[in-house]
Symmetry: C2
Subunit: 550 residues, 2 copies
């Protein structure tokens, strides 16, 4: 297939994506339903078989860092490449990739996304086992939504690269004859891009940066988290196959695997050849990258302390149900899951003038969670499994941080005895316990904070968010004046706001083409998926002026 054919093939999807970004309504190019006809019959079984085969792939010196959170015999080996060799290959691959037109690179990127879609089940099973995601989430967030977010990033990058005309005549009126200067604008890449993946959402969080850097002309080195390599290895493998199949140097996209014992990320991040870094992970290393990798533009998504602020509601049962789901989904191993749940001391005002007391709420939420996780066979479809030993340990040790409203229980799955299943926990802590509150407890641990009134909660959450950052605030209120104050506080704290989530949509979910994920304006991260600022630093514009004599 020629590049021109490829552009034609994907032109409609790209144009729709660019339009969707401007509208910010619902849009999706990759169906999230595994039974959708886009996914061929038999591809589920084939995908699962491919992942099982990958588990026993022994070609490489790095082994034993991944495990299946569901207890499967996961032991893939990966090549142990030196950073320098990978960067040298990336540099060698760079000029030919940079020489393409932005729209040509976009066509190649969309071809890679389509190839990834064709491996959707394989990717879903990889995400499920490496990250502990429930299968439905692994298919949706790990695969379909990740592809949508990648497409969104490509669309914004293409739009921005197209903001300059390739060539224009500047003609200035003058007394005798016009002055004429021919001006050209060329889009140039920045250099090598490093994408540093996380353990829980390696695809969803990495694809935007990966594809934005790729389409703007930069070779990409993907460095997965040592405990969640397979999903990004699949992604890189797919990208390389597509590149090679189209006659490009596959080294435009490379995988760099390391171990926790012998990490390579700092050497990669500080190398003078690396000009772009996308990082998802802990605040400590994210902060380090921001202050040390000064030769590169560093995009970070770190972590914060998300809040639910309940003032009043028109649908109390819906609130409780939604919150129980929110806390249970993937055992709260999401950067968007609320950690602090604020209640006014006087309880929750209902629309009919009644009030639900703090004790009512505790009992109702505990019951709703208990109902959701009552059956381990069904619970696993919601909770997934615990990705890391550290998260499991935190859940166990959390008992000491406050008065338990309900504690985290380990569930025994009848068919998967080694799966690490954990129910969410909620601990009541006083607002004064700032050491406990203003700290991320990643995993199934949330805190109930009862304050004097809803405005005190707002001030408290504002203070915590200003110091430690947050990605989400979820507010329940029928009082528009309170909502306005919440908006002002959220605005000042740099956190996006979600209101009155009482149905099946959860605050933890972020929709491509519509929702901004992370604001970039508090400690939870310095970049948003995906705004214009997420793509601009990935390319440069070279202007050339040539005087045209009359």
């Amino acid at each position: 297939m020629t590049l021109q054919d490829l552009q034609l093939k994907h032109a409609g999807r790209l144009a729709d994506a660019i339009a969707a970004v401007a509208c910010r309504g619902y849009h999706s190019a990759y169906p999230e339903d595994p039974t959708h006809p886009a996914y061929a019959d038999g591809s589920r079984a084939a995908g699962e078989a491919a992942v099982r085969a990958a588990w026993t792939q022994r070609d490489g010196a790095i082994r034993g860092e991944e495990r299946s959170a569901f207890g499967a015999p996961f032991d893939t080996a990966y090549a142990d490449e030196p950073v320098d060799a990978v960067l040298a290959r990336a540099e060698a691959a760079a000029p030919a990739w940079a020489a393409l037109d932005p729209v040509e690179r976009a066509a190649v990127a969309l071809e890679i996304l389509e190839a990834l879609q064709q491996r959707a089940f394989e990717m879903a099973f990889a995400c499920m086992h490496a990250c502990g995601q429930p299968f439905a989430m692994a298919f949706q967030a790990g695969t379909a939504h990740a592809l949508d977010r990648a497409l969104e990033a490509v669309a914004i990058a293409v739009r921005e690269m197209g903001a300059y005309p390739a060539r224009v005549l500047w003609e200035k009126p003058d007394a005798r004859r016009p002055l004429r200067v021919e001006k050209t604008f060329e889009i140039l890449p920045r250099g090598i891009a490093a994408v540093i993946g996380c353990a829980t959402f390696p695809t969803w969080n990495s694809y935007p940066g990966l594809f934005a850097s790729l389409v703007t002309g930069n070779p990409v080195v993907v460095k997965p988290h040592p405990t969640a390599v397979l999903p990004l290895a699949l992604c890189v493998d797919t990208a390389r196959s597509v590149l090679a199949g189209l006659g490009f140097d596959a080294d435009v996209v490379q995988l760099l695997v390391d171990t926790r014992a012998a990490p390579k990320t700092k050497a990669l991040a500080l190398d003078a050849r690396v000009k772009l870094i996308d990082f998802t992970g802990g605040p400590e290393f994210g902060d380090w990258l921001e202050s040390h990798a000064r030769q590169a533009h560093v995009f970070t998504e770190k972590a914060g302390v998300n809040a639910v602020l309940i003032e009043s509601t028109g649908d109390y049962p819906g609130l409780v149900r939604n919150l129980a789901l929110t806390l249970s989904l993937y055992s709260a191993q999401m950067c968007t899951t609320p950690q602090s749940i604020y209640l006014p001391r006087a309880g929750i005002r209902l629309q009919d003038g009644m009030t639900k007391t703090v004790e009512d709420f505790k009992a109702d939420l505990a019951a709703a969670v208990a109902k959701l996780v009552a059956d381990p066979v069904r619970a696993i479809e919601l909770l997934g499994a615990i990705q890391s030993d550290a998260t499991e340990a935190r859940a166990v040790e959390a008992a000491s941080i406050g008065e338990p409203v309900f504690a985290s229980r380990r569930l025994a799955h009848p068919d998967l005895p080694d799966a690490v299943l954990r129910t969410p926990a909620l601990y009541a802590v006083p607002p004064e316990a700032l050491d406990t509150i203003a700290r991320e407890h990643f995993g199934p641990i949330s805190l109930l904070i009862v304050t004097e009134d809803a405005d005190a909660a707002l001030r408290h959450a504002h203070e915590v968010t200003r110091s430690r950052g947050a990605i989400t605030w979820s507010v329940y209120s029928n009082d528009e004046a309170f909502v306005r104050r919440a908006k002002n506080a959220a605005a000042d704290a740099g956190v996006h706001l979600t209101l009155d989530m009482t149905g099946p949509v959860l605050v933890n979910q972020s929709a491509a083409f519509s929702d901004l994920h992370v604001s970039g304006h508090n400690a939870a991260g310095n970049a948003a998926l995906c705004d214009t600022a997420f793509v601009l630093p990935r390319f440069r514009v070279l202007q050339t002026r040539r005087y045209l004599a009359a």
Copy 2:
């Protein structure tokens, strides 16, 4: 006039500006010709009289830092305000300004620009005396072009603030009934903006940041260079009058004057309330701001070492004439004036197969410059006057840096005995003299560097630009292969390229709506006037999602 009337009044000009930025052809909203009917009869005399009156304005504790480079009795006094009081007033003015719609603020900004246009002659005389600009330049670059660059920044900011819909319904298909979420996107300012002006082009260099920050909702504090206060004082005075006249708090735009003995810039730049800083000035302080004012987004235009690279030409007389003008204009007190002129040892190839030797070129350029400045009364219209004692001293001391091709001479103007007029100088230095070459000699001092061949010159200029930065490269060549190599070297060094300037357009000139001034990708500065990245950090987007129950 209501805000709505104001929007209607300026809608056409704004729409034209937004369209012009996308086209990048010639566009201007503010005529550069002082005889254009846009400028009322008698306004020249009135403007000059107003500046003369300002010279003797004695209301303020700060005096004696400004002088007229043309020897006029310039002794304006300014108020000595504490940084904290100015910031406190800016903070107080902030909420009401932030509460306006972006398009409302744009209308106010365009009203201010129009009011500045009405004071065009006054501003031109202020720039002429404070900066030493020749009158024509003071009217064009100091006034009309500065207004165009301001309008360009406003246009880009309005376009980018409009990239999000105010409100959208997100409706996701679902098995039973669609999921519906109402989403709003609000544009929020960043905080207080500080604009730190320079001594030579206080308006042209400061307006883009000033107006971009203003239109995105941030109060602005303008801190002029102590030796060139009046132009920005006029600007702030005009802005405050327009704001007050429309019923806004005038403190949305404030002036902060300091002295070299008691500077206020560091205190201003490090204040936690200051979130945006636009700086034009020396590399040392620019670097300091970039690394120390970490609470703010810092936009810098520092300085570099600009190059002319001559390989061959189809119009040798045009080249010599253009270069003589380029070096003479405003006595090379422009950040865009070339400092290094590279020639191949074998001379300049002409189209007819002939060659101009290095000695030919030296003689021809010297003669062209001598002709331009032969008559001091006419020369002053090109050279202007020397803005600072330091520049004058550098020009005098430059004799030691190389072998003079032609030296800088002080010209005595018959009518203006105190005007500091200086002709440009050219010194031959060997390419090995990197200490001399890779250093800015601000003012009428250029270096002739003869290299083995044109490609050696390219490598040399590339190395200097990579280490010290550059804003312009001017290349003369008929050889498209060499031009391609020059483009690649320019791209790698992050400098925009100008080719074959042999007519009346000069490499030092940068046209609003068309030319990118500074690339942001080398040591000459981290921001470009005006690309999208120049406006994005000045505002934030707050997303609010509200679940809509069926």
